[in-house]
Amino acid sequence: MSLLGMFWNQTVCLLQHFRGRKNRCYSLAVRAVRRAFVYASKARKAKRRSMRQLWIQRVAAASREQHMKYPALIHNLLKCSVALNRRVLCDLSITEPRSFQSLTALAHARRTEGLRAALGDGAEPPGVFSRITQLQ
């Protein structure tokens, strides 16, 4: 079993689309394949970062539609012990807009709690189910 044969058998599926002689000539192909593997390893780590960035952008867009900013939404959901992560929030904002609207309403109510206690008449905000909990 020749090493050359082994190389081409194992890598032909992934270097078919390379440009120029990198898809035909052994010396160039070896280097190109090694770089491709390195890029793929780095990208597997970067993929998690870029997915989270995309989730955050989408949740920010959806919350701005509900007249709330992303940092305010996240901080107030945290204060309410709503432990939904960005991935789930992003999916809700796309496929369950009403649920997302209620989450923003909850965050808004928690955000304005201090102001309402100071200025308001002590009434519960309409549509928000609240009870006092101990934060974990």
Binding site: Q57, R58, V59, A60, A61, R64, I94, P97
Partner: protein
């Protein structure tokens, strides 16, 4: 990917109807109360990914704020289905760009520089000169600088439509779907306040202008300059 199955408040532009007044540009919309879930899947997809046309009035607005609103909508960052590769930006029409309002002394101090590459062709123009030469250039440059610096920027700039006055062509008027609220609240001029509002304005003590120090000071209403009787 599934799409939102609720109706008209949802962000897709497909469920809004429009009325136009042709005397001056005023866009109203009536929400249509039918469910997008009654559409077929392909119709839902079409409605979700449809490109909207936004209208912004730039009269008495800071051009940077207008530009940031434009850039957000041109990229599609106002939509929960945003992706940089998806090309889901919308069209933005800005009118009255001739009447933008820089704050501070930027009309004289802000400098737009350009160089064509040939020797001796370094040009520097103040914002006032630039605006006189081309009333849409300031907002155009501002939006260009705020968009992501990649190949999609040029396509996004093509979807930005700038008009110096509020005269818009017919085909663009027909496409408009939504008017965005202005970012800055325009302060009223003194002449726009009624006499009752001026009288009701909280009064400050002013020292007696006509008399010598030590004499009884006559308090004046600073807005109307009429002496107040005690």
């Amino acid at each position: 990917m599934k799409y939102g199955t609720t109706f008209s408040f949802c962000w897709s532009g497909g469920s809004k109807l429009l009325l136009y007044h042709y005397s001056h540009v005023e866009v109203k919309f009536i929400k249509c109360f039918f469910k997008m879930s009654s559409f077929s899947r392909s119709a839902q997809q079409w409605a979700t990914f449809a490109r909207s046309w936004f209208l912004i009035d730039a009269r008495m607005q800071p051009p940077g704020k207008i530009a940031s609103m434009c850039s957000v909508r041109l990229q599609g960052k106002h939509k929960p289905i945003y992706h940089p590769l998806s090309d889901i930006g919308d069209h933005v029409v800005v009118m009255n760009t001739r009447h933008i309002a820089f704050s501070g002394n930027k009309w004289e101090q802000k400098v737009y520089s350009s160089h064509t590459g040939y020797p001796g062709s370094f040009k520097q123009l103040t914002a006032a000169q630039m605006h006189k030469k081309d009333p849409t250039a300031i907002i155009k440059l501002a939006v260009y600088g705020m968009l992501p610096k990649n190949l999609t920027r040029r396509t996004m700039m093509q979807r930005l439509h700038l008009f110096p006055d509020d005269v818009l062509p017919e085909d663009i008027l027909k496409n408009l779907t939504e008017e965005l609220p202005q970012p800055r609240e325009i302060p009223r001029k003194l002449s726009e306040y009624t006499q009752e509002e001026r009288n009701a304005f909280p009064m400050l003590w002013t020292p007696n202008v006509s008399g010598s120090p030590g004499s009884a000071s006559i308090r004046h209403n600073p807005l109307t300059k009429a002496p107040l009787s005690e």
